[in-house]
Amino acid sequence: MSEGQRQEGGGWPLWEVFVRSRRGLSHTHAGSLHAPDAEMALRNARDLYTRRAEGVSIWVVPSAAVTASSPDEKDPFFEPAADKAYRHPTFYAIPEGVKHL
């Protein structure tokens, strides 16, 4: 189903909601909702996802604006990271007794 079909909800497009739970933390995806415009999406997001002070800041993004990697490409797409153990500190053998390293 294309994103175009998803916007039929009475003409209300779908929005993705990101909430910053407190200062110092990044916004994380909370869920999605329908709203006619960005302002209403923000208000609806406040009512839906922060009824118990779960957030100090909200982003709403039209779902149609999100570009995602395809699930089919998953393995080849992320494969370059799989065989590079030398990017992790545990790859390196250090003699016992070496401190602060």
Binding site: S2, W12, L14, D37, A38, V66
Partner: protein, 338 residues
């Protein structure tokens, strides 16, 4: 290729070998790997989830009605504020679940149309009336208690969006149950009339609450497959027994009795045995012949229809604002600022 992250989108898999896809799906489920919207899944898995999640979403919003019935007549401002917060939570739970259901490739409008046409169900518990204020307490304690017993294992459901919605819902449900228990306790320890009212409410809600777990295991049509798919984790009877075991001591502290003369401790099993459930009543309510089936759906349809102009006005306003933005030389879609 550009697709929305939360939309079921299976065409990317069309070229792959169906047997290999099915084997990979089964292996993922067996390994407790969560299935996400754009993963390949068997049609029957998708259909089962749509049916169950839609029914769950519908139950949340239809469930607002019996309790909202008492908002204007709550006995104190405190109780009124609590009840409004609870009913608002139920609306929120419905919205979490509708969003999660939409990730399976169905539209919100289609789900609501099916509810209004009686083609998708909601929990039959909401077809019982709320006759007295004590019913608000009995619903919180028993109906929400049964819902929690059902829903906690759903937090580990194999379908990611459903499991995530359930985590949020379960966090919020415990307030619902506690406020109901507290309300009943206040009545039970009140005047003899208040105590009798609390007992009457428990008498009426106890059996329908036990029916919320669904038919007995040997008659449950979808249970075995749902367990294999890790949508369900425990059988209907298992969850029902768990609920009964939790309620018996809670009722004792309330000073109220449960209306089951056969309820007794089973030493061997380490749990309570309950008397026979009237499944004929359950089937009748399911068939549409409960006390409030027609009223609930009519109310729901009327709310939807009388809200149509608001939805249309919001769309017209949004379009007008976009036009105004364009005329002023701004980008049409610059609303989504941080």
């Amino acid at each position: 290729m550009t697709t929305t992250v939360t939309t079921a989108q299976a065409d990317g898999h069309a070229t792959a070998d169906p047997h290999a896809l099915a084997a990979a799906f089964d292996a993922a489920v067996a390994d407790e790997v969560r299935i996400e919207p754009r993963d390949w899944m068997p049609d029957a898995y998708r259909d089962t989830l749509v049916r169950q999640m839609a029914q769950h979403a519908h139950s949340e919003i239809i469930g607002m009605q019996p309790e909202a019935n008492w908002i204007t007549r709550a006995p104190s401002l405190r109780r009124k504020a609590i009840l409004m917060a609870k009913v608002q939570d139920e609306a929120g739970h419905g919205l979490y679940l509708y969003s999660a259901t939409e990730t399976l490739g169905v539209s919100r409008d289609d789900l609501l149309d099916k509810l209004h046409a009686g083609r998708q169900r909601y929990s039959s518990i909401f077809n019982y009336p709320t006759l007295t204020w004590a019913d608000v307490g009995a619903i919180g304690w028993l109906v929400d208690g049964a819902a929690i017993t059902n829903q906690v294992p759903l937090c580990r459901c194999s379908y990611g969006p459903y499991a995530r919605a359930m985590v949020r819902i379960c966090k919020e449900e415990s307030f619902h149950q506690r406020q109901g228990y507290e309300l009943l306790l206040a009545l039970s320890r009140g005047t003899p009339e208040q105590h009798a009212m609390a007992q009457d409410a428990v008498n009426r809600w106890w059996w329908p609450s036990l029916m919320m777990f669904g038919p007995p295991d040997d008659e449950s049509a979808h249970s075995a497959q749902s367990m294999a798919w890790r949508i369900k984790r425990h059988s209907n009877d298992e969850l029902r027994r768990r609920f009964v075991d939790i309620c018996v001591p809670q009722a004792e502290i309330l000073g109220l009795t449960l209306p089951d003369p056969d309820l007794r401790w089973n030493e061997e099993r380490g749990g309570y045995d309950h008397g026979p459930i009237d499944w004929a009543e359950f089937r009748e309510v399911l068939r549409g012949n409960g006390p409030c089936n027609r009223e609930r759906l009519e109310r729901r349809r009327a709310a939807h229809e009388s809200g149509a102009w608001v939805r249309q006005a919001a769309v017209a306003y949004a379009a007008k604002q976009r036009e105004a933005g364009r005329a002023a030389g701004h980008g049409a879609d610059q609303e989504a600022g941080a």
